[in-house]
């Protein structure tokens, strides 16, 4: 890896490890100090390495510097020392010598505990995702702003307020108690699910950033699977769902950045390895007797990985969507269900059902109706696609819909 690429990459992976370990040590009240020490460490690395070149073991170098900076902070900050050092004493009687444990085990444990702390119901899901991106994923403020189609100032404010709320709620950085795990996991899974969706469906043009968001969501979910206490069926179902979806990453955007719809994708670009991983986690998820929404969505995603169009495929997808909607309504599930209905029961029935949804300010609703009216009523189809175009916001969506309209006009 070139040094220009190597340092940002290292920053991301090591920043999040150092921050989590220090946060865990200092407590949520001092989350900023942990972030500052981690940032300072990297600032020093960038300055020094650009002059002297890379050290032999950059990671070890970073850990040593971070440890020293943390220890210095303790020494020079009287209030912090009085308040915190006593709390973080484990067994040592030496008050000034503080242990900063950057072992692999403590890093993983700290990251898992931070995950539970940041995905706390006291803050909005948007804030949970932003904070997770910053602290658990090591994303820069600019990157987070890009992902949310926002600006640095807004994101900084959002992060600041979120940290304030976590402090007020006195959120502890610890593992939830055995009997609370399932309930707390639910919030964590929602955040990871939304983080993945932010990458998969986001309107950001930056495809490599979007891919990164998906990979980060998968990495964090994988941390949960690797940990015995959090390796539950819904977690496996979520990871399975993410694997199935990301298997189509290469096939879903064209060279101009326009979205390629599922039915128009080049199936040879679907990633077999990810599909197989998805199947593995889906079978892991089938233990236990609770069917979560992630199970149903993973099931839907599984059927989508089958390349041959059969009645069974779309009938299964339709029934899974029916069950998913019984658990939780969402406009996107309602629209996708209606598409599956058209494939399983025919367009005539699907048009009647689609029009009942009345999601008239959603561009996907009009795109769906445009699709359903194809071959039934070309005028209505074009009209719906034109409405969809006026409602669509992202350039990728606009391009896709414009192409559909062009196709119709060519045929007319």
């Amino acid at each position: 890896m070139e040094q220009q690429e190597f340092i940002p990459h290292l920053f991301r992976t090591e920043y999040r490890k150092i921050t989590s370990v220090l946060c865990k040590l200092f407590g949520i009240d001092h989350i900023e100090i942990a972030e500052d020490i981690a940032s300072d460490t990297f600032l020093m690395a960038t300055e020094l390495w650009s002059i002297k070149g890379l050290p032999e073991n950059p990671t070890a170098w970073l850990y040593t510097v971070a440890k020293n900076k943390a220890k210095n902070y303790f020494k020079h900050n009287q209030i912090f020392r009085d308040k915190i050092v006593q709390q973080v004493q484990y067994s040592t009687s030496e008050i000034h010598e503080i242990e900063i444990d950057l072992s692999e085990k403590n890093i993983t444990d700290s990251q898992l505990q931070m995950m539970f702390a940041l995905c706390h119901p006291a803050i909005s899901t948007e804030a949970q995702i932003s904070l997770s991106l910053r602290i658990l994923c090591g994303f820069g403020i600019t990157e987070i702003a890009d992902a949310f189609l926002s600006n640095k100032e807004t994101i900084n404010k959002r992060l600041f307020r979120a940290k304030e709320k976590l402090r007020i709620a006195q959120v502890k950085i610890e593992f939830p108690k055995e009997k609370e795990i399932d309930e707390r996991l639910e919030t964590v899974l929602t955040t990871l699910y939304l983080l993945f969706n932010e990458g998969y469906y986001s309107s950001s043009q930056d495809t490599s950033l979007r891919k990164d968001l998906c990979l980060e969501a998968m990495r964090l979910t994988f941390l949960l699977v690797e940990n015995k206490q959090t390796n539950t069926p819904p977690v496996n179902a979520l990871l399975s769902l993410m694997c199935f979806h990301s298997s189509r990453f290469e096939a879903r955007t064209d060279q101009y950045g326009a979205t390629i719809l599922y039915q128009d994708q080049d199936k040879s670009l679907w990633n077999e390895e990810l599909i197989n991983k998805g199947k593995y986690y889906l079978s892991e998820a089938s233990q236990g007797n609770r069917v979560s929404k992630y199970h149903l969505e993973a099931g839907i995603a599984y059927w989508h990985t089958l390349k041959t169009e059969t009645t069974e495929k779309w009938e299964s997808i339709l029934q899974l969507y029916n069950r998913l909607l019984l658990i939780e309504y969402s406009p996107i599930a309602a629209l996708n269900r209606t598409y599956a209905l058209s494939k399983a029961n025919g367009n005539a029935e699907a048009i009647i059902e689609a029009e009942k949804l009345k999601l008239t300010d959603n561009h996907l609703y009009h795109s769906l109706l445009g699709e359903l009216y194809r071959g039934v009523d070309a005028t209505k189809a074009i009209l719906h696609f034109k409405t969809a175009l006026s409602l669509a916001k992202s350039p990728a969506d606009k391009m896709l819909i414009s192409n559909k309209i062009l196709d119709f006009e060519k045929k007319a």
């Binding site: 029916n322 909607l325 209905l341």
Partner: protein
Amino acid sequence: MKDFLLIFRNDYKSTSQHSPEELQAVTKRWMDWIGGIAAQNKLTDKGNRLEPSGKVVRSSELITDGPYTETKEFVGGYIAIKAASLDEATEIAKECPGLSIGATVEVREVSVL
């Protein structure tokens, strides 16, 4: 939006006269129907089926077995929906797939206590 309970009654005897394939087809259409209501965000409770046997209590002294599955108006299950009016709820009920095998749907607005 108002809340409505849809109560399904069927003729137990006539239901058992249908072939397993017919009943399976009804089950699929039933799921599509419920899924369709949920897709409109109008399903408030997916409801349940009721076991065929039970007891009927009339006064503390008078408890009988029942309801009898021989009766035509045997309550088999329920769902809860929301709709703008009784008319709209009735339109939804009209599409119940059970109607094709002799079931009836009673539409009742929920009067909140």
